[in-house]
Subunit: 377 residues, 2 copies
């Protein structure tokens, strides 16, 4: 079978499946980005993004990837000499650490991929009272690990440290109540749990973060300007109007489902997925106490290759899952189940996975994975 | 009449009218940005963007606005202490000057909006042999003025100075043969002469520019990384796949028409537009020897307001044109005629403009503007 780009089951850890309603929203002629029509779109987006982040604070929308959002947060908040603590326990944690070192006087806590950070060590560093900002990745997409947000947020609050959270693959899929937890800047991307096309970074910004921001970072990613402009329903530079239209429709769908209903659905599907992997006899890649609800990373058994599993799933059955990235390339696969993923897609994925695993010689009770999923339905 | 966002004649100076083929290209389910399918899309984009820039050099595509492209160019090429000369004779020239000051040791030549730079002064500064980079905006969208690219490029070549050109509203509408002129970095935006949706910055990069680039600018806008990745059909961070699909279709359309045919059509429509304004008795805002072929800026006669003209055109006749920006707000209007604009749209615009001008009390030969356009058809 030749892979069909237009007709498949799409289970990446972002981009994710996009609903036809969202695609249709982009089928709109040009709209002037300084027009009242676009201002109205932005005002609705402003309300819906506040709902998404569970915040009464400000939000910004930047045309750019999630990485642009990360750099906007760090470069706008941290100045040369400011002490910043970052956690590096995955590909995106490593990126956060790189940004922390670029813009501030950084301390990096490094852990193996798939391992959580040592909370005692964080407490120890923050209790010295020198750290201005703590930054970490909530859900490490690269490893399927969710870092302990609530615990870290508590430590930051205790020591009055500004908290920057990369919630790119958690916000909208895992509960991230920004105001309640005291997150000062939280970043997410349009192509993850929100299920819109890629190309927009969304950021929540606390009053305190806004006061601490400066203009000495970059020009395009100066968050202060985005906040000033969004208050009038505008953006500082030409935004991608079509991506704003898509995001608007995707957020309307999120609101219709209800944020907490989506979070619950995502959790249930994640539990079913983990249970299926166990039933098939496969092991999770991350410490399973920290397994993510938006992406499940699963080790390949010895002797079974990425090509045999992920390659065949795509080419023979039209099921798209993710592989693992350097330095763990080929060691595990990742099933994304955020956004609009339903049980029907998980079932098809697990069933096809059983087929390719069996063909590759893996021994397990055929049907056990599917049966495990059914238990959750 | 209530303005219809979905059905109007759209004559802004970017974003511009988008063809249904281009909108349709975005009606595609998600594609993994690390997949061979997306690599194939990027390889075709690479060829087509080289055609657009008339270059054998490298190209980069960044998810972000044209401003992101400007910052990528300056921050990747210019280091603290590097001498850079920039021209400020409009809103975007001012932005280029700001970026030059942020990243280098800048000299700024400032001229009134609508006035060209003094070539003798440029020659004088560059002949000192201290300047590393010269940066300016080719087509100043804010004023309808085209700066003398060929002349400036010659001076830069003579003194071996790296040349950065903001071709955001010229590339694809005015001839910008990058290799022939020796432009080291040329920037354009997806939503201008190429007629795709906003959200992508495109950059041509010479071999010499690539050698001079460093990693000490920003993280997201580090051009070196985009060049490294595009050579494998990839992007360093998650790109907006849907905007890439739209850009691909828009560039295919440009190739079908032929770059130089599009440039000629744009010039002809611009001449017709200027001739119509003259026939109606209106004056251009910029020095008319430097009038742009992609956007025509026209002064309001004394006593005639933006609301009477631009407001009525939009509200009563569904014709969208641009106003003028601070510090010249309300002084002139701008008709964009780049990309896919055809005579039929210009005719409707000029005819409706005659109606609203007459209603506002302006005296002229009714029909003269339309007749002037017809002469060019």
């Amino acid at each position: 079978m030749v892979f069909d780009m237009h007709d498949n089951i799409f289970m990446l850890a972002g981009p994710v499946k996009i609903h036809p309603r969202v695609l249709k929203a982009m089928n709109t002629p040009s709209i002037g980005h300084r027009s009242p029509e676009f201002t109205a779109i932005n005002e609705e987006l402003r309300e819906l993004t506040k709902y998404l982040f569970q915040t009464k604070g400000e939000v910004a929308i930047i045309t750019g990837s999630g990485t642009a959002g990360m750099e906007a947060a760090i470069s706008s908040l941290v100045k040369k000499g400011d002490k910043i603590l970052a956690i590096d326990n995955g590909k995106f944690g490593n990126r956060m650490a790189t940004l922390a070192k670029m813009y501030g006087d950084a301390t990096i806590l490094t852990y193996p991929w798939g391992s959580p950070p040592d909370l005692g060590k964080i407490e120890e560093i923050l209790s010295k009272g020198e750290t201005k900002v703590m930054a970490f990745v909530h859900n490490e997409t690269s490893t399927g690990l969710t870092n302990p947000l609530e615990d870290i947020a508590k430590i930051c609050k205790k020591h009055d440290v500004l908290l920057v959270v990369d919630g790119i693959t958690s916000v909208g899929g895992i509960d991230v109540p920004v105001d309640k937890l005291g997150i000062d800047i939280c970043i997410t991307g349009s192509q993850k749990c929100v299920a819109a096309p890629a190309g927009l970074a969304l950021l929540s910004i606390s009053e305190r973060a806004l006061e601490e921001m400066h203009d000495n970072g970059t020009y395009y990613l100066n968050l202060k300007k985005y906040v000033e402009k969004i208050r009038g329903g505008q953006t500082p530079y030409t935004p991608s109007v079509h991506l704003h239209l898509a995001l608007l429709e995707a957020l309307r769908m999120l609101k219709e489902e209800g944020l907490h209903n989506r979070i619950k659905r995502t959790a249930r599907i994640a539990e079913a997925c983990r249970s299926a992997m166990e039933a098939i006899g496969l092991e999770l890649f991350p410490d399973k106490r920290y397994a993510s609800n938006t992406v499940t990373a699963v080790k390949y058994p010895d002797g079974i290759t990425d090509k045999q599993i992920r390659g065949r799933l795509k080419e023979e059955y039209g099921i798209v899952i993710a592989g693992s990235q350097a330095p763990h390339k080929g060691e595990f696969f990742r099933i994304g189940h955020m956004g609009l993923v339903q049980f029907r897609e998980l079932l098809a994925t697990v069933a096809c996975l059983e087929v390719v695993l069996a063909k590759a010689g893996w021994k397990f009770d055929r049907g056990a994975g599917v049966a495990a999923v059914e238990e959750y339905m």
